[in-house]
Symmetry: C2
Subunit: 136 residues, 2 copies
């Protein structure tokens, strides 16, 4: 998936800043903070520009954000990650927030009268990679 395609698909102008943000996030193996993206782009853009770019990208649904432990992490909201159910795994060892896609899902019985529009499920623990490392 190319950055310019994503932007065009959402009727957004292909500006340098937006393309940069998307490329960094598309290449990352985990969700990143605004500052992490900014640093990856060597602070090439003004912080206001970053702020507005992220805002636009989240509002249009290009990006999905999740706040955990007082920091907001962003990921591209495309393909498998899109939808009204978001599964995340935060590894307390490597501090990465991973998007996961569990095979088996068992729904929770909510109290009567509640209507669900969106579900966010975040696990916290030790990821596969760190688990292996710990055992050695």
């Amino acid at each position: 998936m190319k950055a310019t395609h994503i932007l065009q698909h959402h009727q957004l102008k292909c500006t340098e800043c937006r393309i940069g943000i998307l490329n960094v996030l598309l290449e990352a193996d985990a969700a990143l903070t605004e500052n992490q993206v900014k640093e990856a782009l060597h602070n090439k853009f003004d912080r206001t520009t970053f702020y507005r770019s992220f805002k636009t990208l989240v509002e249009t649904g290009v990006l999905h954000s999740i706040t955990l432990h007082d920091s907001t992490l962003y990921m591209v909201n495309a393909g498998e990650n899109a939808g009204h159910e978001h599964y995340h795994f935060y590894c307390s060892a490597c501090h990465k927030l991973l998007c996961i896609h569990p095979q088996k899902k068992e729904n929770i019985a909510l109290p009567d009268g509640f209507k669900i529009k969106q579900t966010d499920i975040t696990f916290e623990g030790v990821c596969k990679t760190c688990n292996k490392t710990e055992k050695r």
Copy 2:
């Protein structure tokens, strides 16, 4: 559950600010932001004091916090709410974050090698009360 008992149980001094915060949160039917608590106490304390009180209460496990839509909400981490599984329901109609306790719980098959320490499950939708109101 009394505020002073909770504080003593966690070996914290029973200061006016901490007791005030706990009383407000114990009486609330939903999670509240730091500012909502502050206003409920008529800004009786300095913002630094609030900041440090919340910090202490969260660090010692007296309070549990969750960030949603860019605002952090706090609730007392006692009784049913305690533990390593947190179920919340955010109502997009009344904007309240409720703690829920489903009978039947989620049983998700995670990829191999992942070790779970804590699970946070947040539903977003319309709560029982707002659902009723909408239908009339």
